[in-house]
Symmetry: C2
Subunit: 326 residues, 2 copies
DNA sequence: GTAATAGTGTCTTTCAGACAGTATGAC
DNA sequence: GTCATACTGTCTGAAAGACACTATTAC
């Protein structure tokens, strides 16, 4: 019933996008830097003898490479395309499973091994941070994407496979010409830039479209292998999940002010949210409860809150339904 | 940096949950029946030499085993837990990647090979069909789950790992004691029944909890390997996706009546939806447009509609936001 | 007419989005 | 008092949810 045993070895790579937020800045855990200067996230080859489940394997790799114990972990996607794992023709085929993990920064950052550190997420995806308005870098990106979309010869070739034209995909992913910016489409945008050959990682892959290396604009810091793709998947998923699961609290200390909560949400979603509406949502939604304590920073002291664990038992999908306007 | 090469072979299994809806009944494509009488969905071992991508491999398996060409395909999840792939200790470890595919039934069903056929989805998950009110089988399931939840000794052991108690999980997944029924939690429910040892497939796995085989209630038809788990994942995803992507149309012919559209949605989500609100959503949401044609069945003729492909370019997440009440 | 199915019209409640203010502390 | 930050009250308009009614065909 099944074909005969394949004679190419298959390896399963596990990779973790470990996210935290430090003072309004999303950070991603990198485990090391390779010879070419590209950073790698914690990752390794799955060994069924050593690891009872995939997730256990992943946790082990993160612990071994960075010393960090993970809390929340979620599988994202399994990538298997040849040519995108930086492998040569006769090397074993690597299928990589990406994970999202959330952690609090606490004191842990201090105890990281020398190679490992947390790096700002938006350094890898500068076009994703709209907190200060439309990011400048889009002025560089847009004309290049338009040029790619206008390449009619190539367009005809791939239009058979795809329902949407290149131009339409650019418009929708990047929210131009009246299309709204959808902060969840992180992966779509990355893949589009990749296909258009504007991403350094694509150089060895999408030959015809790619610009020469020295003509490539600097579109965020590259990563090794397909790690930046996994990161894009992670952020897209996290941005989506924020809205229907109480995942933000995995990133916050046990007690926090509403302002901290809000700016953490803004940090991840990359956009401002409306302050009054946000507070109303959080309090009416009974997601948090006051501890009675207050902070003492400069300015008016803020009330401290904690996550109300009970919501999990009350409502089916408790999250922070964010509006579209800040 | 990585551990040395593992000496256990790894295999990647691909399996497809191919869904269609025939006259208000969701169907699932089974490719064959094994020696013990369990059915299997189209599946096979991924061979990197033969298949450029995972998805191409999957499409090939479905085509080879059932003759069906797939349209919409989506990756679901990668399962890797030992003991749940029905493998013995020294057999290669199988990691299985589940896919959801949607297809129209058309004439294709007629041309299926003898072993393959479409089978009603709710035959495998009888507790998921609430279109006729609360399914009777829950009267059998509930006391058994309650008993399992009341097993305090076992509870203590796993409460360290889990945030929610067994009782709370039962309550939330199955919507009892005032908790609402969430039709998307298909996998949660299946996993709970599995853990409680009430599912035939669990017999070789969760020893202590399991009832003796002959005392097991008939909780839906079993499947080979982890195929029923993949099915549960598929239906959960499909039920969720219905609400924010225009996926129903993949299951319908090019033109259809609003009643057909509604009953297809109801078939998948397993609950009734409010007729007027549904029509308002569909028409105001500009998801469909009238063709001008009409049907001639008995009763008043119905106007025919087609999917408005343009919505894909207009709105970020066009779907059929269903209410909670029918 | 009756059975069968298709297709309104409109009220109420909820909630997202927006406005512009007031409160409390450190210095 | 000034600066800085925290917090609140209330209007508006769009949808979700629910009500019951009318329309068009076959027989």
């Amino acid at each position: 019933m099944n074909p005969s045993a394949p004679d190419t070895a298959i390896e399963i790579g596990l990779a973790a996008a470990v996210v935290t937020v430090e003072r309004s800045n999303p950070q991603i855990l990198v485990a090391r830097t390779d010879e070419t200067g590209s950073v790698e996230v914690p990752s390794g080859r799955f060994d069924p003898l050593a690891h009872r489940t995939l997730e256990i394997g992943l946790r082990d790799f993160v612990a071994a490479q960075t010393g960090l114990g993970l809390g929340y972990v979620e599988q994202l996607y399994t990538f298997g395309d040849r040519g995108r794992a930086a492998g040569e023709a006769d090397m074993p085929r690597v299928v990589s499973i990406g994970y999202l993990a959330l952690t609090r920064i606490d004191g842990q950052a201090k105890t990281l091994p020398p190679e490992a550190r947390f790096r700002p997420w938006y350094g890898f995806f500068p076009w994703e941070d709209w907190r200060g308005g439309r990011p400048r870098i889009l002025d560089t990106i847009q004309p290049l994407l338009d040029e790619w979309a206008a390449d009619v010869v190539a367009e005809r070739a791939d239009s058979e496979r795809r329902a949407l034209s290149r131009a339409a995909r650019v418009r929708l992913s990047f929210g131009i010409d009246g299309a709204p910016w959808d902060e969840e489409k992180v992966l779509d945008r990355y893949e589009l830039l990749y296909e258009a050959g504007l991403i350094v990682e694509a150089l060895h892959d999408v030959r015809p479209a790619a610009l020469a290396r020295d003509k490539l604009p600097a579109l965020g810091e590259p990563m090794a292998y397909d790690h930046r793709r996994i990161l894009a998947t992670a952020m897209g998923r996290l941005r989506a999940k924020l809205k229907y699961r109480p995942v933000v609290f995995e990133l916050l200390p046990p007690t926090f002010t509403l302002t901290t909560l809000q700016s953490t949400v803004e940090a991840i979603s990359g956009r401002h949210v409306h302050k009054q509406n946000f507070r109303r949502l959080v309090e009416n939604g009974a997601l948090v409860e006051p501890t009675g304590e207050q902070t003492t920073t400069r300015g008016r002291p803020a009330a401290l809150f904690r996550f109300r664990r009970d919501v999990l038992q009350e409502r089916p999908a408790p999250g922070l339904r964010l509006g579209t306007r800040g």
